[in-house]
């Protein structure tokens, strides 16, 4: 299905100013180039794969150039949208008069402060690059669950943030220690480490916000502004201790991975007889403050991602379905110990908790542990969700107490059964929540994955209905804030806001104060009026 192409054009004067600011090589209005930014099937609820074609594409290489772009856009009343690694419709043009800011030329790691445990990066540095360099220094980072070729800056400043190691590294929003931010006015605001006065090592602030009132809530809140509040050009992020080796010899790429698991790592699957014991055990695990990585990868997720052809056939057999159903209450748990004693302590805690809840701890056998170790540390698995049908979607996702997450999963399953019956998505046994606990169980996350093929018109058409049904259920059953429904932009905020302390009024005020002309593309955030 084609998407209407804007007939709008950029004024000649704006074109000359862009060229002057960026050089001819780094600016284009050519439809051939601009269409390279107009196809974004992920996170798109309309059928088809095309989104708005931007009027122009810019490739800045510095904060000054980003400022110049924003100022030219302000002067000519053009909307603009920044993206970093650019994965998803939320990074593309939401309207028909948008200048795309592709930040891929800003790809430097600017500073390592090992003493104060942070690293300062530009937008186009990806998680795997930082992790590889961090490990050489004995550190690790939080990698959000979209995978390690995504930009941590994009995710931490502008979009969600949960990831597989959340039990020990929390979410991206907690990992920002400072930003450099080109505001929608074109001015530059520096926060936290990026805003400290002294450049000499050791004297910088390494709190996220520095002294004074925090701007973090305004900057990103729970979900991030998805490009609707200006452009972030630098970010300082936390470094965590890394208990593994500085370099890892890896053979293979994904399913064929062969990696030596370090002895101080224990990789397990913990299985329980029912939902209650599974959830209670997780609360206890959180309380015990153990673990490096914890996550429920549903059976459907594992099969759909690794053996998609098999998952298509499974529903033919009721018996197999029953067996798989019996395996649903499980989570993966990884220990990364800093000493033998630590290993023993964490292991014994885990075993006791699981045993107390009637479960069993299964240690990952070789060679499976290669995959379960390295691909989860590196977060290299996520794009496998596209194997089943070419696309995926996700709903719920409100970060709440884990019992609420369990409700999200239960209701998500009920809703999905109806959509499976109408062939809106592939049959994943309806049980496909991706669930984790964060910060030692302080809160949890659960989202209901949905495998579909956007090239199938019937499937493509029903994504929006599904998203709406889940948003309605969120409201009706008080399921964790707005969850992913937030990303539908203004119209959803207006529905959810009244049930949630009228947050939408405040959000709109923030947008209006920072971007009165509504030029920082807010399709996935909120408009100023």
């Amino acid at each position: 299905m084609t998407f209407p192409i804007s007939t709008k054009t950029i004024p000649d004067e704006a074109v000359s100013r862009f060229r002057e600011a960026l050089g001819d090589e780094n600016f284009s209005t050519d439809p051939v180039i601009c269409d390279g930014y107009a196809m974004q099937p992920f996170h798109k609820t309309e059928p088809g794969c095309w989104i708005n074609r931007p009027l122009a594409v810019t490739l800045p290489s510095s904060t000054e150039e980003v400022q110049a772009i924003v100022k030219i856009c302000i002067q000519h009343g053009l909307r603009y949208k920044a993206h970093s690694t650019g994965w998803g419709a939320h990074g593309g043009a939401g309207y028909d008069n948008v200048v795309q800011i592709d930040l891929r030329r800003m790809n430097k790691i600017l500073e390592w402060d090992e003493k104060n445990r942070y690293v300062v990066v530009e937008p186009y540095v990806n998680c795997a690059e930082i992790q590889a360099e961090a490990m050489k220094r004995g550190f690790n980072i939080h990698i959000h669950g979209a995978g390690s070729v995504c930009s941590p800056l994009a995710n931490a400043t502008s979009h969600c943030g949960m990831g597989w190691s959340g039990i020990s590294t929390s979410t991206s929003s907690r990992n920002i220690l400072g930003v450099e931010w080109v505001l929608p006015s074109g001015e530059v605001l520096k926060l936290g480490t990026c805003g400290s006065i002294s450049e000499s090592a050791g004297s910088r602030w390494f709190s996220a916000d520095g002294p004074g009132p925090s701007m973090r809530g305004i900057m990103r809140g729970w979900a991030g502004a998805d490009g609707g509040l200006g452009v972030f050009t630098k970010m300082s992020m936390k470094l965590f201790h890394w208990a593994g080796p500085k370099e890892t010899a890896v053979k293979g790429r994904l399913q064929d991975l062969v990696v030596e698991k370090p002895d101080n790592f224990r990789i397990t699957l913990c299985a329980f007889p029912d939902a209650r014991s599974y959830a209670d055990a997780l609360f206890k695990v959180g309380e015990a403050e153990i673990g490096f990585l914890q996550c429920k990868n549903s059976v459907a997720l594992m099969l759909g991602a690794m053996m998609p052809r098999m998952l298509r056939k499974i529903h033919a057999s009721m018996n197999v379905k029953k067996i798989l159903d019996a395996c649903r209450h499980q989570f993966m748990f990884t220990i990364a110990a800093t000493s033998d004693l630590d290993y023993q302590y964490q292991s014994q805690c885990l075993e006791k908790i699981v045993d107390d809840h009637g479960g069993i701890v299964l240690d990952a056998p070789a060679p499976l542990h290669s995959l379960m170790y390295w691909s989860f540390v590196r977060v290299s698995l996520p794009p496998v969700v596209f194997r089943m049908g070419g696309n995926f979607f996700s709903t719920f996702g409100g970060d709440e107490a884990f019992d609420n997450c369990m409700e999200q999963a239960r209701i998500g399953e009920e809703i999905k059964r109806q959509f499976i019956a109408s062939k809106a998505c592939f049959d994943d046994l309806a049980d496909n929540p991706w669930a984790l606990i964060y910060e030692n169980g302080l809160f949890g996350h659960s989202e209901e994955l949905w495998f579909y093929d956007h090239r199938d018109p019937e499937m493509g058409r029903q994504v929006d209905d599904y998203a709406k049904a889940c948003a309605d259920a969120t409201l009706e059953h008080t399921l964790g804030g707005g969850g992913f429904a937030f990303f539908k932009g203004g119209e959803v905020h207006d529905i959810l806001g009244p049930a949630m302390s009228n947050y939408h009024i405040w959000q709109r005020r923030i947008k209006k104060a920072l971007d009165p002309n509504d030029l920082s593309d807010s399709k996935f955030y909120i408009s100023s009026d």
């Binding site: 051939v32 180039i33 590889a132 360099e133 194997r387």
Partner: protein
């Protein structure tokens, strides 16, 4: 197959950008994490593998017109296949390289390609080689080696030198040395001399399908009349054409195709050659795209939903030739093989392929210099490879950079070990 046949491949791109990077699990540094020369140099997304899928779809959907810009994006690409191999770490249903080939064929149908490519095709048609060198001089490299004339006598093994080895004076020693090694191992070896012509792989890669097929069919006739059971080539580019492009064009050679590294390895295994002498060098190895991921045999078109295509029918780059040259190097006493970060199916391209060396010197140099920089980080004193196109481009880059690293063919090192001297 026309571009339309790949509509679902193009529409299926999830824009995950795996086609721009080495596989996530293999990323070892910030410096050497990228894998696509085209987007690394030109930055706009259209230049990535994913962007080329969008380009094709945009053409099909009549969102853009066929014009110079389309050709610019389609041809400023080394057709190295790194995007294809890395996309397939995750996807079963997208064949990026085939889409790029179809876009190029569409460009040619519409007369949109670079002038340099037209010149090359004209040269090819006139002189049977991509350089426009006299066709009569093609077999001169073999003078005095006493190789059998495959046009006049039946041979077990037909040795196809390829255009680059036939005419690049700098590489004369390499090709003569390679043929000598095989001859001395007692193999019934012949060459076609003046009658040898280009394999046609370049023409196919540029989208000149008819010309490519003519050369391929011509090759098939020559192979058949020689009676050879094995078609042996020291050129990775030709090897890739025989293994992949020929099958895409529907031409069956009917013989076993072997690269010289595979053949030498087999000779060593049978005790026909012995690595007698030490070669005390620290070597790093560059995987030529057309010996590696691009040589993976074409399994035929997949009718229907590619999501259901079995893994065995998916060309994911892993079935290319990676171990034979490395095994040879490891067999040579004294050689210490040190690997670069980007190797095997996620290797960085040397920049010579896909018509880029002929038409976009800047991209070609950019890619080669990047590879030399990567080689230098290993501390190796020589960079070995198995393709004359890679050798030419990497040697030029190393020289212009004053990098102080020698660029060698694997067969040169083998010859040094077997003969104890450089054969020229």
């Amino acid at each position: 197959m026309a571009l339309e046949a790949y509509r679902r491949d193009m529409e299926g791109c999830s824009r995950c950008s795996s086609c721009k990077w080495v596989p996530m699990s293999q990323m070892k540094s910030h410096r050497f994490s990228q894998v696509c020369p085209s987007i690394s140099r030109y930055h706009f997304h259209s230049f990535a593998g994913s962007g080329k899928l969008m380009l094709g779809l945009s053409l099909l959907d009549n969102r853009i017109e066929m014009n110079d810009s389309v050709a610019d994006v389609a041809y400023k690409c080394t057709l190295c296949g790194a995007c294809d191999a890395n996309c397939k770490v995750y996807r079963d249903d997208i064949d990026i390289a085939e889409v790029i080939e179809e876009i190029r064929a569409t460009c040619v149908e519409n007369g949109q390609f670079f002038a340099e490519h037209q010149m090359m095709i004209d040269d090819l048609k006139r002189e049977n080689n991509v350089f426009g060198e006299p066709k009569n001089a093609r077999g001169d490299w073999a003078e005095g080696l006493g190789l059998k004339d495959a046009n006049a006598q039946k041979v077990d093994v037909l040795f196809h030198a390829g255009c680059r080895f036939s005419y690049d004076e700098d590489l004369l020693g390499v090709i003569r040395g390679a043929a000598t090694l095989i001859r001395d191992a007692g193999v019934d070896l012949g060459v076609a001399g003046k009658a040898e012509s280009c394999c046609g792989g370049r023409a196919f890669g540029l989208g000149f399908r008819g010309d490519g097929k003519n050369f391929a069919e011509d090759m098939a006739v020559r192979v058949k009349s020689s009676g050879a059971k094995v078609l042996l080539t020291p050129c990775a580019d030709c090897y890739g054409a025989f293994k992949y492009a020929y099958r895409r064009m529907g031409v069956d050679l009917g013989v076993q195709v072997m690269h010289i590294s595979e053949y030498l390895k087999a000779l060593a295994a049978n005790g026909k050659i012995n690595f007698k002498n030490r070669v005390d060098r620290k070597i790093t190895y560059h995987d030529p795209c057309h010996l590696g991921r691009r040589s993976e045999p074409y399994a035929g078109p997949w009718e229907g939903n590619k999501l259901l295509r079995p893994a065995s029918r998916k060309r994911d780059g892993r079935k290319g030739v990676y171990d034979a040259p490395r095994d040879l190097l490891r067999s040579i006493p004294g050689i210490r093989l040190v690997e670069m970060e980007r190797i095997r199916e996620y290797s960085w391209c040397c920049g010579a392929g896909g018509g880029v060396w002929e038409a976009d010197q800047e991209l070609s140099d950019f890619a080669a210099r990047e590879r030399i920089e990567e080689a230098l980080t290993t501390g190796a004193d020589a960079l070995a490879t198995s393709c004359p196109w890679c050798e030419r481009n990497l040697r030029d880059a190393a020289e212009s950079m004053g990098a102080g690293i020698e660029v060698l063919d694997v067969t040169e090192l083998v010859a040094r070990s077997i003969k104890g001297e450089v054969i020229s």
